[in-house]
Amino acid sequence: MKILVTVKEVAEAADDFEIDGTDIGEQYLEYDLNEWDDYAVEAAVQLSEAYDDVETVSVTIGPERSEETIRMALAKGVDRAIRVWDDDVAAADLDVAAKTRLLSAVVAEEEPDLVLSGVQAADDGFGATGVSLADEIGFDWAAVVNHLDTDDDLSTAHVHRELEGGIEELTDVDLPAVLTIQTGLNEPRYASLRGIRQAQSKEIAEFGLGDLGLDADAVASPIERTAMYEPETESDATYFDGSADEQAAQLADVLRTKGVVSE
Protein backbone atom coordinates (compact mmCIF):
# COMPACT_ATOMS: atom_id res chain seq x y z
CA MET A 1 0.00 0.00 0.00
CA LYS A 2 1.15 3.49 -0.73
CA ILE A 3 -0.03 6.58 1.16
CA LEU A 4 0.48 10.00 -0.34
CA VAL A 5 0.32 12.83 2.17
CA THR A 6 0.15 16.44 1.12
CA VAL A 7 2.45 18.70 3.09
CA LYS A 8 2.30 22.46 2.80
CA GLU A 9 4.72 24.99 4.12
CA VAL A 10 2.57 27.80 5.44
CA ALA A 11 3.42 31.35 6.35
CA GLU A 12 2.56 32.76 9.74
CA ALA A 13 2.40 36.50 10.30
CA ALA A 14 4.23 38.10 13.21
CA ASP A 15 2.13 39.92 15.85
CA ASP A 16 3.25 43.22 14.38
CA PHE A 17 3.43 43.32 10.61
CA GLU A 18 3.10 45.58 7.62
CA ILE A 19 1.36 44.89 4.37
CA ASP A 20 3.38 45.27 1.20
CA GLY A 21 1.05 45.42 -1.81
CA THR A 22 -1.24 42.42 -1.74
CA ASP A 23 0.66 40.40 0.86
CA ILE A 24 2.27 40.78 4.23
CA GLY A 25 5.88 41.94 3.92
CA GLU A 26 8.21 38.96 3.66
CA GLN A 27 10.22 40.07 6.71
CA TYR A 28 7.10 39.60 8.88
CA LEU A 29 6.42 36.03 7.76
CA GLU A 30 7.72 32.85 9.31
CA TYR A 31 7.33 29.49 7.64
CA ASP A 32 6.36 26.20 9.18
CA LEU A 33 4.68 22.89 8.46
CA ASN A 34 0.93 23.44 8.18
CA GLU A 35 -0.66 22.33 11.46
CA TRP A 36 -3.40 20.25 9.79
CA ASP A 37 -0.81 18.51 7.58
CA ASP A 38 1.18 17.59 10.69
CA TYR A 39 -1.78 15.47 11.80
CA ALA A 40 -2.06 13.99 8.29
CA VAL A 41 1.64 13.06 8.38
CA GLU A 42 1.16 11.40 11.76
CA ALA A 43 -1.84 9.44 10.47
CA ALA A 44 0.19 8.23 7.49
CA VAL A 45 3.15 7.19 9.64
CA GLN A 46 0.89 5.41 12.15
CA LEU A 47 -0.69 3.41 9.32
CA SER A 48 2.76 2.50 8.00
CA GLU A 49 3.66 1.27 11.48
CA ALA A 50 0.43 -0.70 11.88
CA TYR A 51 0.50 -2.54 8.56
CA ASP A 52 3.17 -4.36 6.57
CA ASP A 53 4.42 -3.02 3.28
CA VAL A 54 3.09 0.53 3.54
CA GLU A 55 5.11 3.22 1.82
CA THR A 56 4.49 6.83 2.78
CA VAL A 57 5.30 9.61 0.34
CA SER A 58 4.80 13.32 0.93
CA VAL A 59 4.09 15.82 -1.80
CA THR A 60 4.67 19.53 -1.47
CA ILE A 61 4.07 22.34 -3.90
CA GLY A 62 6.66 24.84 -2.80
CA PRO A 63 9.97 26.60 -3.40
CA GLU A 64 13.40 25.39 -2.35
CA ARG A 65 12.87 27.01 1.06
CA SER A 66 10.11 24.47 1.78
CA GLU A 67 12.68 21.64 1.88
CA GLU A 68 13.12 22.44 5.57
CA THR A 69 9.43 21.68 6.15
CA ILE A 70 9.64 18.58 3.98
CA ARG A 71 12.63 17.32 6.00
CA MET A 72 10.47 17.75 9.10
CA ALA A 73 7.89 15.34 7.62
CA LEU A 74 10.69 12.94 6.62
CA ALA A 75 12.14 13.14 10.13
CA LYS A 76 8.76 12.12 11.53
CA GLY A 77 8.80 8.96 9.47
CA VAL A 78 7.65 9.69 5.92
CA ASP A 79 9.69 7.43 3.60
CA ARG A 80 10.34 9.83 0.75
CA ALA A 81 9.16 13.17 -0.58
CA ILE A 82 8.22 14.94 -3.77
CA ARG A 83 8.51 18.68 -4.29
CA VAL A 84 6.74 20.31 -7.22
CA TRP A 85 8.08 23.64 -8.38
CA ASP A 86 9.52 25.50 -11.34
CA ASP A 87 9.57 29.05 -12.67
CA ASP A 88 6.05 28.84 -14.07
CA VAL A 89 4.65 27.55 -10.78
CA ALA A 90 6.57 30.24 -8.90
CA ALA A 91 5.09 32.95 -11.14
CA ALA A 92 1.53 31.68 -10.71
CA ASP A 93 -1.03 32.54 -8.05
CA LEU A 94 -2.17 28.96 -7.47
CA ASP A 95 -5.89 28.47 -6.97
CA VAL A 96 -7.64 25.25 -5.96
CA ALA A 97 -7.96 24.08 -9.57
CA ALA A 98 -4.27 24.64 -10.29
CA LYS A 99 -3.22 22.75 -7.16
CA THR A 100 -5.63 19.98 -8.14
CA ARG A 101 -4.02 19.68 -11.57
CA LEU A 102 -0.52 19.53 -10.08
CA LEU A 103 -1.43 17.01 -7.39
CA SER A 104 -3.46 14.81 -9.74
CA ALA A 105 -0.41 14.60 -12.01
CA VAL A 106 1.60 13.42 -9.00
CA VAL A 107 -1.13 10.88 -8.19
CA ALA A 108 -0.89 9.59 -11.77
CA GLU A 109 2.86 9.06 -11.24
CA GLU A 110 2.66 7.51 -7.79
CA GLU A 111 -0.65 5.64 -7.91
CA PRO A 112 -1.32 5.79 -4.16
CA ASP A 113 -4.08 3.82 -2.42
CA LEU A 114 -4.79 6.56 0.08
CA VAL A 115 -4.21 10.31 0.06
CA LEU A 116 -4.16 12.21 3.35
CA SER A 117 -4.36 15.97 3.35
CA GLY A 118 -4.87 18.60 6.03
CA VAL A 119 -8.39 20.07 6.11
CA GLN A 120 -7.02 23.50 5.33
CA ALA A 121 -3.88 25.56 5.21
CA ALA A 122 -3.27 28.00 8.03
CA ASP A 123 -2.32 30.84 5.67
CA ASP A 124 -4.86 31.04 2.83
CA GLY A 125 -7.50 28.80 4.40
CA PHE A 126 -9.28 27.59 1.27
CA GLY A 127 -9.97 24.14 2.72
CA ALA A 128 -10.79 22.74 -0.69
CA THR A 129 -7.82 21.04 -2.34
CA GLY A 130 -8.27 17.54 -0.87
CA VAL A 131 -11.88 17.11 -1.95
CA SER A 132 -11.24 18.75 -5.31
CA LEU A 133 -8.35 16.33 -5.88
CA ALA A 134 -10.49 13.35 -4.89
CA ASP A 135 -13.12 14.31 -7.45
CA GLU A 136 -10.49 14.83 -10.13
CA ILE A 137 -8.76 11.47 -9.65
CA GLY A 138 -11.98 9.52 -9.11
CA PHE A 139 -11.27 8.53 -5.49
CA ASP A 140 -13.86 8.45 -2.75
CA TRP A 141 -13.31 10.92 0.02
CA ALA A 142 -14.24 12.31 3.42
CA ALA A 143 -13.61 15.84 4.65
CA VAL A 144 -12.86 16.99 8.20
CA VAL A 145 -11.91 13.60 9.58
CA ASN A 146 -11.11 13.51 13.30
CA HIS A 147 -11.14 9.76 13.87
CA LEU A 148 -9.80 7.06 11.56
CA ASP A 149 -9.92 3.27 11.69
CA THR A 150 -9.12 0.96 8.82
CA ASP A 151 -10.18 -2.61 8.06
CA ASP A 152 -7.47 -5.25 8.25
CA ASP A 153 -7.46 -5.60 4.48
CA LEU A 154 -7.37 -1.82 4.04
CA SER A 155 -10.47 -1.90 1.86
CA THR A 156 -12.50 0.53 3.95
CA ALA A 157 -11.81 3.45 6.25
CA HIS A 158 -14.20 4.01 9.13
CA VAL A 159 -14.05 7.72 9.86
CA HIS A 160 -15.69 10.29 12.05
CA ARG A 161 -16.33 13.65 10.43
CA GLU A 162 -16.40 16.48 12.92
CA LEU A 163 -19.56 18.47 12.32
CA GLU A 164 -20.47 21.69 14.05
CA GLY A 165 -21.88 21.76 17.58
CA GLY A 166 -20.27 18.67 19.08
CA ILE A 167 -21.75 16.20 16.58
CA GLU A 168 -19.71 13.65 14.67
CA GLU A 169 -20.83 11.85 11.55
CA LEU A 170 -19.78 8.20 11.33
CA THR A 171 -18.99 7.30 7.75
CA ASP A 172 -17.46 4.37 5.89
CA VAL A 173 -15.29 5.27 2.93
CA ASP A 174 -14.05 2.78 0.36
CA LEU A 175 -10.38 2.93 -0.48
CA PRO A 176 -8.73 4.29 -2.54
CA ALA A 177 -9.76 7.57 -0.99
CA VAL A 178 -8.71 11.06 -0.07
CA LEU A 179 -9.24 11.97 3.58
CA THR A 180 -8.85 15.55 4.78
CA ILE A 181 -7.56 15.47 8.32
CA GLN A 182 -8.75 17.65 11.18
CA THR A 183 -6.50 18.57 14.09
CA GLY A 184 -7.00 16.35 17.13
CA LEU A 185 -7.08 13.12 15.07
CA ASN A 186 -3.93 11.94 16.80
CA GLU A 187 -0.95 13.32 18.65
CA PRO A 188 1.69 14.35 16.12
CA ARG A 189 5.11 13.15 17.21
CA TYR A 190 8.13 15.33 17.60
CA ALA A 191 10.93 14.55 15.22
CA SER A 192 13.60 12.57 17.07
CA LEU A 193 17.27 13.43 16.67
CA ARG A 194 17.69 10.09 14.95
CA GLY A 195 14.78 10.90 12.66
CA ILE A 196 16.24 14.29 11.84
CA ARG A 197 19.57 12.68 10.98
CA GLN A 198 17.91 10.04 8.85
CA ALA A 199 15.81 12.65 7.07
CA GLN A 200 18.94 14.22 5.65
CA SER A 201 19.59 11.15 3.55
CA LYS A 202 16.01 10.57 2.39
CA GLU A 203 15.07 11.39 -1.15
CA ILE A 204 13.25 14.58 -2.15
CA ALA A 205 12.36 14.19 -5.82
CA GLU A 206 11.83 17.45 -7.68
CA PHE A 207 9.26 17.77 -10.41
CA GLY A 208 8.61 20.70 -12.71
CA LEU A 209 5.54 21.10 -14.87
CA GLY A 210 7.26 19.37 -17.80
CA ASP A 211 8.13 16.34 -15.67
CA LEU A 212 4.45 15.98 -14.84
CA GLY A 213 3.34 16.29 -18.44
CA LEU A 214 1.91 19.76 -17.83
CA ASP A 215 2.58 23.22 -19.17
CA ALA A 216 2.10 26.75 -17.84
CA ASP A 217 -1.64 26.62 -18.65
CA ALA A 218 -2.03 24.11 -15.81
CA VAL A 219 -1.25 26.76 -13.23
CA ALA A 220 -3.12 29.67 -14.80
CA SER A 221 -5.79 30.98 -12.45
CA PRO A 222 -8.77 33.26 -13.06
CA ILE A 223 -8.69 34.30 -9.40
CA GLU A 224 -6.49 37.26 -8.60
CA ARG A 225 -5.84 38.83 -5.21
CA THR A 226 -6.31 42.55 -5.70
CA ALA A 227 -6.01 43.99 -2.22
CA MET A 228 -5.00 43.16 1.33
CA TYR A 229 -5.73 45.25 4.36
CA GLU A 230 -6.02 45.00 8.10
CA PRO A 231 -9.68 44.71 9.00
CA GLU A 232 -11.01 47.74 10.80
CA THR A 233 -11.18 46.88 14.44
CA GLU A 234 -14.67 46.77 15.86
CA SER A 235 -13.26 46.86 19.34
CA ASP A 236 -14.69 49.21 21.89
CA ALA A 237 -13.04 47.30 24.71
CA THR A 238 -12.02 49.03 27.91
CA TYR A 239 -8.35 48.23 28.47
CA PHE A 240 -6.78 47.92 31.90
CA ASP A 241 -3.37 49.54 32.11
CA GLY A 242 -0.56 49.45 34.62
CA SER A 243 1.42 46.61 36.14
CA ALA A 244 0.08 43.05 36.16
CA ASP A 245 -1.06 43.57 39.76
CA GLU A 246 -2.87 46.78 38.84
CA GLN A 247 -4.49 45.17 35.80
CA ALA A 248 -5.57 42.20 37.91
CA ALA A 249 -7.08 44.47 40.56
CA GLN A 250 -9.17 46.33 37.97
CA LEU A 251 -10.30 43.06 36.43
CA ALA A 252 -11.21 41.70 39.86
CA ASP A 253 -13.38 44.75 40.42
CA VAL A 254 -15.25 44.07 37.20
CA LEU A 255 -15.82 40.43 38.17
CA ARG A 256 -17.16 41.50 41.56
CA THR A 257 -19.39 44.15 40.00
CA LYS A 258 -20.78 41.63 37.55
CA GLY A 259 -21.61 39.42 40.50
CA VAL A 260 -19.91 36.31 39.14
CA VAL A 261 -17.38 36.08 41.96
CA SER A 262 -18.34 36.30 45.55
CA GLU A 263 -15.80 37.01 48.23
Binding site: T180, E187, P231
Partner: protein, 317 residues
Amino acid sequence: MSDVLAVADHRRGELRDVSFEIVRAGRELAADLGGDLHVAVIAGDVDGFADRLSLEGVDTVHTVDAGEEFNHDLYAGATAALFEELAPTALLMPNSVNGLDYAPAVANRLDLPLVADAVGLSYDDGLEATREMYGSKVATTVEVSEEPVAVTVRGGEWPAVEDAADVAVEPFDYEFDEATSGARVQGFEEVGAGDVDIADAEFLVSVGRGIEEEENLELIEELVEATGATLSSSRPIVDNGWLPKNRQVGQSGKQVTPDVYLAIGISGAVQHVAGMKGAETIIAINTDPNAPIFDIADYGIVGDLFDVVPALTEQFE
Protein backbone atom coordinates in the same frame (compact mmCIF):
# COMPACT_ATOMS: atom_id res chain seq x y z
CA MET B 1 -29.98 35.94 -17.35
CA SER B 2 -27.31 36.24 -14.68
CA ASP B 3 -28.85 34.11 -11.99
CA VAL B 4 -27.55 32.88 -8.66
CA LEU B 5 -28.02 29.37 -7.30
CA ALA B 6 -27.60 28.95 -3.53
CA VAL B 7 -27.65 25.58 -1.79
CA ALA B 8 -29.20 25.20 1.68
CA ASP B 9 -27.68 23.22 4.54
CA HIS B 10 -29.60 21.06 7.00
CA ARG B 11 -28.95 18.34 9.53
CA ARG B 12 -31.18 15.98 11.45
CA GLY B 13 -34.35 17.58 10.21
CA GLU B 14 -33.38 21.21 10.84
CA LEU B 15 -32.26 23.83 8.37
CA ARG B 16 -29.02 25.29 9.65
CA ASP B 17 -28.60 29.04 10.20
CA VAL B 18 -26.27 29.35 7.22
CA SER B 19 -29.21 28.44 4.95
CA PHE B 20 -30.93 31.70 5.80
CA GLU B 21 -27.68 33.64 5.61
CA ILE B 22 -26.78 32.25 2.20
CA VAL B 23 -30.19 33.44 0.98
CA ARG B 24 -29.15 36.98 1.98
CA ALA B 25 -25.78 36.62 0.25
CA GLY B 26 -27.50 35.21 -2.82
CA ARG B 27 -30.20 37.87 -2.83
CA GLU B 28 -27.63 40.68 -2.72
CA LEU B 29 -25.52 39.10 -5.43
CA ALA B 30 -28.54 38.42 -7.64
CA ALA B 31 -29.49 42.09 -7.26
CA ASP B 32 -25.97 43.11 -8.39
CA LEU B 33 -26.24 40.72 -11.33
CA GLY B 34 -29.80 41.67 -12.23
CA GLY B 35 -30.89 38.02 -12.18
CA ASP B 36 -32.98 35.59 -10.18
CA LEU B 37 -32.11 33.80 -6.97
CA HIS B 38 -32.63 30.05 -7.03
CA VAL B 39 -32.34 28.08 -3.81
CA ALA B 40 -31.77 24.33 -3.77
CA VAL B 41 -32.54 22.00 -0.90
CA ILE B 42 -31.38 18.42 -1.13
CA ALA B 43 -32.45 15.33 0.86
CA GLY B 44 -34.67 14.94 3.91
CA ASP B 45 -38.04 16.62 4.28
CA VAL B 46 -37.55 18.80 1.22
CA ASP B 47 -41.17 20.00 1.11
CA GLY B 48 -41.00 21.19 4.71
CA PHE B 49 -37.64 22.81 4.07
CA ALA B 50 -39.02 24.47 0.92
CA ASP B 51 -41.77 26.09 3.00
CA ARG B 52 -39.18 27.51 5.36
CA LEU B 53 -37.01 28.67 2.45
CA SER B 54 -39.87 30.52 0.77
CA LEU B 55 -38.32 33.82 1.72
CA GLU B 56 -38.34 37.38 0.49
CA GLY B 57 -36.01 37.71 -2.49
CA VAL B 58 -36.03 34.03 -3.46
CA ASP B 59 -37.45 33.41 -6.93
CA THR B 60 -37.57 29.61 -6.95
CA VAL B 61 -36.88 26.83 -4.47
CA HIS B 62 -35.72 23.61 -6.12
CA THR B 63 -36.26 20.44 -4.11
CA VAL B 64 -34.25 17.27 -4.63
CA ASP B 65 -36.18 14.50 -2.92
CA ALA B 66 -33.48 11.86 -2.53
CA GLY B 67 -32.00 10.36 0.60
CA GLU B 68 -32.59 11.33 4.19
CA GLU B 69 -29.42 13.05 5.25
CA PHE B 70 -26.32 14.63 3.81
CA ASN B 71 -24.32 12.43 1.49
CA HIS B 72 -21.60 14.19 -0.46
CA ASP B 73 -22.08 12.13 -3.61
CA LEU B 74 -25.75 13.06 -3.62
CA TYR B 75 -25.08 16.72 -2.91
CA ALA B 76 -22.27 17.00 -5.45
CA GLY B 77 -24.23 15.17 -8.14
CA ALA B 78 -27.53 16.95 -7.59
CA THR B 79 -25.94 20.38 -7.30
CA ALA B 80 -23.96 19.88 -10.49
CA ALA B 81 -27.02 18.62 -12.37
CA LEU B 82 -29.19 21.51 -11.20
CA PHE B 83 -26.42 23.95 -12.06
CA GLU B 84 -26.28 22.58 -15.59
CA GLU B 85 -30.02 22.95 -15.97
CA LEU B 86 -30.21 26.51 -14.59
CA ALA B 87 -26.86 27.79 -15.91
CA PRO B 88 -26.46 30.49 -13.25
CA THR B 89 -23.56 32.93 -13.13
CA ALA B 90 -22.76 32.19 -9.53
CA LEU B 91 -23.15 29.07 -7.40
CA LEU B 92 -23.14 29.68 -3.64
CA MET B 93 -22.59 26.86 -1.18
CA PRO B 94 -22.07 27.04 2.59
CA ASN B 95 -18.56 26.86 4.01
CA SER B 96 -19.89 24.48 6.65
CA VAL B 97 -18.30 21.11 7.39
CA ASN B 98 -20.69 19.55 4.89
CA GLY B 99 -19.94 22.34 2.42
CA LEU B 100 -16.25 21.46 2.73
CA ASP B 101 -17.22 17.88 1.87
CA TYR B 102 -18.93 18.57 -1.46
CA ALA B 103 -18.43 22.14 -2.74
CA PRO B 104 -14.85 21.57 -4.00
CA ALA B 105 -16.03 18.47 -5.87
CA VAL B 106 -18.83 20.42 -7.54
CA ALA B 107 -16.44 23.19 -8.60
CA ASN B 108 -14.00 20.65 -9.99
CA ARG B 109 -16.70 18.69 -11.82
CA LEU B 110 -18.15 21.80 -13.42
CA ASP B 111 -14.70 23.31 -14.02
CA LEU B 112 -15.65 26.45 -12.08
CA PRO B 113 -13.17 28.73 -10.32
CA LEU B 114 -13.72 28.33 -6.58
CA VAL B 115 -13.56 31.12 -4.03
CA ALA B 116 -13.74 29.50 -0.62
CA ASP B 117 -14.88 30.95 2.70
CA ALA B 118 -16.07 34.33 1.38
CA VAL B 119 -17.08 36.92 3.97
CA GLY B 120 -18.20 39.52 1.42
CA LEU B 121 -19.39 39.44 -2.19
CA SER B 122 -20.10 41.99 -4.87
CA TYR B 123 -20.39 42.09 -8.61
CA ASP B 124 -19.38 44.87 -10.93
CA ASP B 125 -18.11 43.65 -14.27
CA GLY B 126 -16.97 40.49 -12.51
CA LEU B 127 -17.23 38.84 -9.13
CA GLU B 128 -15.27 40.36 -6.30
CA ALA B 129 -15.06 38.51 -3.00
CA THR B 130 -13.63 39.39 0.39
CA ARG B 131 -11.71 36.70 2.23
CA GLU B 132 -9.49 36.52 5.27
CA MET B 133 -5.97 35.14 5.50
CA TYR B 134 -3.30 34.41 8.09
CA GLY B 135 -5.79 33.44 10.78
CA SER B 136 -8.04 36.49 10.17
CA LYS B 137 -5.17 38.90 10.70
CA VAL B 138 -5.80 40.41 7.26
CA ALA B 139 -8.66 40.71 4.81
CA THR B 140 -8.17 40.36 1.09
CA THR B 141 -10.21 41.04 -1.98
CA VAL B 142 -10.05 38.67 -4.91
CA GLU B 143 -11.41 39.21 -8.39
CA VAL B 144 -12.53 36.36 -10.60
CA SER B 145 -12.06 36.92 -14.30
CA GLU B 146 -14.10 33.91 -15.44
CA GLU B 147 -17.80 33.08 -15.23
CA PRO B 148 -19.60 31.19 -13.94
CA VAL B 149 -18.00 30.95 -10.53
CA ALA B 150 -18.44 28.84 -7.38
CA VAL B 151 -18.24 30.43 -3.94
CA THR B 152 -18.48 28.99 -0.46
CA VAL B 153 -19.94 31.42 2.06
CA ARG B 154 -18.82 31.67 5.69
CA GLY B 155 -21.61 31.31 8.20
CA GLY B 156 -22.43 34.24 10.44
CA GLU B 157 -21.29 36.90 7.96
CA TRP B 158 -24.64 37.78 6.38
CA PRO B 159 -27.80 38.52 8.39
CA ALA B 160 -30.35 35.75 8.03
CA VAL B 161 -33.36 36.41 5.80
CA GLU B 162 -36.47 35.70 7.79
CA ASP B 163 -39.31 37.38 5.87
CA ALA B 164 -41.56 34.69 4.45
CA ALA B 165 -42.82 35.03 0.91
CA ASP B 166 -44.83 33.03 -1.59
CA VAL B 167 -42.17 31.35 -3.68
CA ALA B 168 -42.48 28.83 -6.51
CA VAL B 169 -41.28 25.35 -5.51
CA GLU B 170 -40.04 23.11 -8.28
CA PRO B 171 -39.09 19.48 -7.68
CA PHE B 172 -35.88 18.52 -9.48
CA ASP B 173 -35.50 14.89 -10.45
CA TYR B 174 -32.17 13.43 -9.54
CA GLU B 175 -31.67 9.69 -9.33
CA PHE B 176 -29.42 8.62 -6.50
CA ASP B 177 -28.70 5.20 -5.10
CA GLU B 178 -26.87 5.57 -1.81
CA ALA B 179 -25.68 1.97 -2.03
CA THR B 180 -23.44 2.92 -4.94
CA SER B 181 -21.83 5.76 -3.04
CA GLY B 182 -18.25 5.18 -1.95
CA ALA B 183 -18.94 7.00 1.28
CA ARG B 184 -21.81 5.75 3.44
CA VAL B 185 -23.05 7.60 6.50
CA GLN B 186 -23.53 5.12 9.35
CA GLY B 187 -24.91 7.51 11.94
CA PHE B 188 -24.16 10.36 14.27
CA GLU B 189 -22.60 10.63 17.65
CA GLU B 190 -22.80 13.41 20.19
CA VAL B 191 -19.44 14.02 21.73
CA GLY B 192 -18.37 15.95 24.75
CA ALA B 193 -20.74 14.59 27.34
CA GLY B 194 -19.15 14.66 30.75
CA ASP B 195 -19.30 15.76 34.33
CA VAL B 196 -19.73 19.44 33.53
CA ASP B 197 -21.91 21.21 31.00
CA ILE B 198 -20.09 24.43 30.20
CA ALA B 199 -23.20 25.65 28.39
CA ASP B 200 -24.85 26.10 31.82
CA ALA B 201 -22.02 28.10 33.42
CA GLU B 202 -22.46 31.73 34.45
CA PHE B 203 -18.73 32.43 34.64
CA LEU B 204 -16.36 30.67 32.28
CA VAL B 205 -12.62 30.94 32.55
CA SER B 206 -11.43 29.76 29.16
CA VAL B 207 -7.86 28.95 28.26
CA GLY B 208 -6.16 28.78 24.88
CA ARG B 209 -2.89 28.08 23.14
CA GLY B 210 -1.16 30.88 25.04
CA ILE B 211 -0.85 28.60 28.06
CA GLU B 212 1.97 26.86 26.14
CA GLU B 213 2.43 23.74 28.30
CA GLU B 214 0.06 21.32 29.99
CA GLU B 215 1.63 21.87 33.41
CA ASN B 216 0.85 25.58 33.13
CA LEU B 217 -2.86 24.74 33.24
CA GLU B 218 -2.40 24.61 36.99
CA LEU B 219 -2.29 28.43 37.00
CA ILE B 220 -5.72 28.54 35.41
CA GLU B 221 -7.09 25.85 37.69
CA GLU B 222 -6.01 27.88 40.70
CA LEU B 223 -7.89 30.89 39.33
CA VAL B 224 -10.94 28.73 38.68
CA GLU B 225 -10.84 27.42 42.22
CA ALA B 226 -10.40 30.86 43.76
CA THR B 227 -13.27 32.39 41.78
CA GLY B 228 -15.69 29.47 41.63
CA ALA B 229 -15.67 29.68 37.84
CA THR B 230 -16.06 26.84 35.35
CA LEU B 231 -13.09 25.89 33.20
CA SER B 232 -13.40 25.79 29.43
CA SER B 233 -10.95 26.03 26.55
CA SER B 234 -10.36 26.67 22.90
CA ARG B 235 -9.66 23.88 20.45
CA PRO B 236 -5.86 23.41 20.70
CA ILE B 237 -6.10 22.53 24.40
CA VAL B 238 -8.52 19.71 23.61
CA ASP B 239 -6.52 18.62 20.54
CA ASN B 240 -3.50 18.27 22.82
CA GLY B 241 -5.50 16.08 25.17
CA TRP B 242 -5.02 18.49 28.08
CA LEU B 243 -8.76 18.88 28.66
CA PRO B 244 -11.68 16.67 27.57
CA LYS B 245 -13.85 17.53 24.60
CA ASN B 246 -16.77 18.60 26.81
CA ARG B 247 -14.73 21.67 27.77
CA GLN B 248 -14.28 22.91 24.21
CA VAL B 249 -15.97 26.17 23.21
CA GLY B 250 -16.43 26.85 19.50
CA GLN B 251 -18.00 25.88 16.23
CA SER B 252 -17.20 22.21 16.68
CA GLY B 253 -17.52 22.30 20.46
CA LYS B 254 -20.13 23.89 22.68
CA GLN B 255 -21.97 27.15 22.19
CA VAL B 256 -21.89 29.03 25.47
CA THR B 257 -23.72 32.09 26.78
CA PRO B 258 -22.28 32.86 30.23
CA ASP B 259 -22.62 36.17 32.04
CA VAL B 260 -18.84 36.54 31.90
CA TYR B 261 -16.39 34.83 29.54
CA LEU B 262 -12.77 35.33 30.52
CA ALA B 263 -10.58 34.33 27.56
CA ILE B 264 -6.99 33.71 28.59
CA GLY B 265 -4.36 33.24 25.90
CA ILE B 266 -7.03 32.79 23.23
CA SER B 267 -6.44 34.64 19.96
CA GLY B 268 -10.07 34.54 18.85
CA ALA B 269 -10.14 32.48 15.66
CA VAL B 270 -13.48 32.71 13.90
CA GLN B 271 -14.32 29.08 14.80
CA HIS B 272 -13.85 29.87 18.48
CA VAL B 273 -15.73 33.16 18.43
CA ALA B 274 -18.70 31.37 16.85
CA GLY B 275 -19.13 29.48 20.12
CA MET B 276 -18.82 32.30 22.64
CA LYS B 277 -19.90 35.58 21.12
CA GLY B 278 -23.25 35.24 22.91
CA ALA B 279 -21.54 35.83 26.27
CA GLU B 280 -22.89 38.90 28.03
CA THR B 281 -19.46 40.22 28.98
CA ILE B 282 -16.25 39.15 27.27
CA ILE B 283 -12.87 39.78 28.88
CA ALA B 284 -9.62 38.92 27.11
CA ILE B 285 -6.05 38.56 28.31
CA ASN B 286 -3.54 38.25 25.49
CA THR B 287 -0.02 39.44 24.72
CA ASP B 288 -0.90 40.31 21.10
CA PRO B 289 -2.73 43.66 20.95
CA ASN B 290 -3.95 42.75 17.45
CA ALA B 291 -5.49 39.44 18.50
CA PRO B 292 -9.03 39.22 17.01
CA ILE B 293 -10.44 38.39 20.47
CA PHE B 294 -10.05 42.06 21.41
CA ASP B 295 -12.45 43.02 18.58
CA ILE B 296 -15.31 41.41 20.47
CA ALA B 297 -14.08 41.95 24.02
CA ASP B 298 -15.71 44.37 26.46
CA TYR B 299 -12.59 44.47 28.63
CA GLY B 300 -9.05 43.75 27.62
CA ILE B 301 -5.66 43.24 29.19
CA VAL B 302 -2.74 43.31 26.81
CA GLY B 303 -0.29 41.43 28.93
CA ASP B 304 1.40 38.21 29.84
CA LEU B 305 -1.03 35.70 31.30
CA PHE B 306 1.79 34.25 33.40
CA ASP B 307 1.94 37.58 35.26
CA VAL B 308 -1.72 38.59 35.20
CA VAL B 309 -3.41 35.29 36.10
CA PRO B 310 -1.52 34.67 39.38
CA ALA B 311 -2.13 38.31 40.33
CA LEU B 312 -5.82 37.87 39.63
CA THR B 313 -5.98 34.65 41.64
CA GLU B 314 -4.37 36.48 44.55
CA GLN B 315 -7.20 39.02 44.45
CA PHE B 316 -9.65 36.30 45.48
CA GLU B 317 -7.57 34.28 47.92
